[in-house]
Amino acid sequence: MTNEPISDNVLLQVRDLKKHFPITGGLFRKTVGYVKAVDGVSFYIKKGETLGLVGESGCGKTTTGRTVLRLLEPTGGEIIFNDPDLGPVHIEQLHRSEMQIVRPRMQIMFQDPFSSLDPRMTLERLVAEPLRINKVMHGQALRNRVGELLELVGLRHEYMTRYPHAFSGGQRQRIGIARALALNPRLVICDEPVSALDVSIQAQVLNLLEDLQARFDLTYLFIAHDLSVVEHISDRVAVMYVGFLVEMATTDELYYHPKHPYTEALMAAIPKPNPRMRTRPIKLPGEVASPANPPSGCYFHPRCRYAQDICSEERPSLRDIGGEHWVACHFAEELELAGLEAQQAM
């Protein structure tokens, strides 16, 4: 993506983001290589929209989310947070003390509702913690705000003195949502928020996230591996493969008219909940490339059935092929790829 100034309706612009983890070995723990978990990721999220970030395990989705918040220090690239009150802020250049100003505006909710809550804190303390740390309020005002937040996420006031073990998975995820929303954030990074939940509970949490988004004008980066859930909740979707974004488009464009061969394979692989739509998967030979030792050229080329000579030589960059459809493939314009087939509702 070019270095043009950020437009007003974009809340977060990420350019060429990199996060490399050193691999150490030997007696003196010398650095012998790098795991390039995130390797040149660029995307933007507009105000009030949901950008879905999908990809298979180990592709760097979660690392991307955490690096954007600087829970992990980026190795390179730009993260520009365009807060309406603060103006565009280069997150990657901020000093630790300056991070405190933007932290309340960017929050995260985690996948595992069982390990992300301190078992020794009551519900009241858990939800009050972000308010207390940021010295937003105290005393009666704090208690009122906690009550308000609990009501917002559908938890009863009587539960205030209970500990996390007394809550079910769905309720714990609601606690995580209350904590993330406590400081009135603009951007919420949802890292697999419903993967650990049963389907009936998953629907409750997804509906809650949608309601809260409409009510507080929230912007979501929704990280998930479940393509059906992402299709349901996202306005636009970005697909990652081995630390790199291979495609980004509006949800319908991406699902029905994919332009990258990896996205095509993902779409064919979704187990559709319709016995009249039984599909054969596209065979991807070999295994997902290792981010410590990626192949030359396009990282997907050893598994791609359309690969040609140039694919092993030159790494394609992510480019706009029109209509906000971004693809990293040399042959994006030429290939005729199959997307989902529209079906009538049941």
């Binding site: 298979e56 395990s57 079910s168 769905g170 049963d198 389907v199 009936s200 509970i201 998953q202 629907a203 409750q204 997804l206 509906n207 949608e210 591996h225 393509l227 059906s228 859930v229 299709e231 349901h232 319908d252 699902y255 394979a265 993902l266 064919a268 692989a269 979704i270 187990p271 559709k272 909940p273 319709n274 016995p275 009249r276 739509m277 039984r278 599909t279 054969r280 998967p281 065979k283 991807l284 070999g286 295994e287 997902v288 989902l340 087939e341 529209a342 079906q343 009538q344 509702a345 049941m346």
Partner: protein, 335 residues
């Protein structure tokens, strides 16, 4: 026992309880069903509904303090000329039970890493099953291992046969597990969430493989999952479980296009239907699955049901009734 050729397994009125210090967990509350020959029966339900305990009961592998309290399980053993064996009469440690497990009925578990032994090679683990049940020597068992690895489309089987589980990726481990389960060409395969831990492209390939093998070998599969998408792609018939009971049983097309039980309907409405291009709100099921130590009077689903009829649904358990040929529902709306 009736002599119905189309059935390989019959479960009748099965009650499996876990007597813990905190109380009794009624994991199975009178489950009855049959597994058709050469078909895939899907068992679907949310966590804690008893799907896995059903399969463990068949294998007599329910871990203590769990116990089969009541009910009967019959299995038609192909190796014995189609004789009906009453599994519930056998001791779990008996020679007969050992004969059944792995040879006649095999099982694939969710997590291939914890079900493979890390200190033996893939070949040794597959070979063990073959040596045990078919009485062949080590050299032949190794050859047979390579053959089945080839059958499950494992790349480079001659090399993989000498690899240890940690050297394989998740998808390859699950292929190795399937190879092990198929090594003795079982009459029935129980697959307990076999693809849940896998990525979507790997999952699709494993499901495709299982469908192909099923058509080739003609075995019966009991496919346990919580994923309705996988059910739609894999199964011929489906049983929906809720709180230790089968609430609906139907051919797969009927279940998705003409569901009867309020729980099935609600479950289908609560998942995002990919390809429907609708951004409508999902219909969630209110409340949650009750705590496992409690007992719900009447129909177990009544506290969460939109069609709840006071005085009827909370009084007695409804009977399972046919609404159409091969379509059964346990609900007062249809009695």
């Amino acid at each position: 026992m009736e002599n119905n050729d189309d059935i390989v397994l019959r479960v009748e009125g099965l009650y499996t309880y876990f007597h813990t210090t905190l109380g009794t967990v009624r994991a199975l509350n009178g489950v009855s069903y049959t597994v058709p020959r050469g078909k895939v029966l899907g068992i679907v339900g949310e966590s804690g509904c008893g799907k896995s305990v059903t399969s463990l009961s068949i294998m007599q592998l329910v871990p203590p303090p769990g116990k089969i309290e009541q009910g009967k399980i019959w299995f038609r053993a192909a190796r014995r000329g189609g004789e009906w064996i009453e599994i519930t009469q056998l001791d779990r440690h008996s020679e007969e039970m050992h004969q059944l497990r792995g040879d006649e009925i095999s099982m694939i578990f969710q997590e291939p890493m914890t079900s493979l032994n890390p200190v033996f090679t893939i070949g040794q683990q597959i070979g063990e099953t073959v040596q045990l049940h078919q009485g062949v020597d080590r050299e032949e068992a190794r050859q047979r291992s390579i053959d089945v690895l080839e059958q499950v489309a494992m790349p480079n089987p001659e090399r993989i046969v000498d690899n240890y589980p940690h050297q394989l990726s998740g998808g390859m481990r699950q292929r190795a597990m399937i190879a092990m389960a198929l090594s003795c060409t079982p009459t029935m395969l129980i697959a307990d969430e076999p693809t849940t831990a896998l990525d979507v492209t790997t999952e699709a390939q494993i499901l495709d493989l299982m469908r192909e093998l099923q058509a080739d070998i003609g075995m019966s599969i009991m496919f346990i999952t919580h994923n309705l998408g996988v059910i739609a792609q894999m199964c011929d018939e489906v049983a929906v479980m809720y709180l230790g009971q089968i609430v609906e049983r139907a051919p797969v097309d009927n279940l998705f296009f003409n569901p009867k039980h309020p729980y099935t309907t609600a479950l289908l409405k609560s998942i995002p239907h990919i390809g429907s291009r609708s951004r409508d709100r999902l219909a969630s099921i209110r409340g949650m699955v009750p705590d496992p130590y409690s007992t719900v009077p009447g129909c177990p689903f009544h506290p969460r049901c939109d069609s709840f009829m006071p005085g009827i649904c909370d009084a007695d358990m409804p009977e399972i009734t046919p609404v159409e040929p091969e379509h059964y529902v346990r609900c007062y709306l249809y009695e």
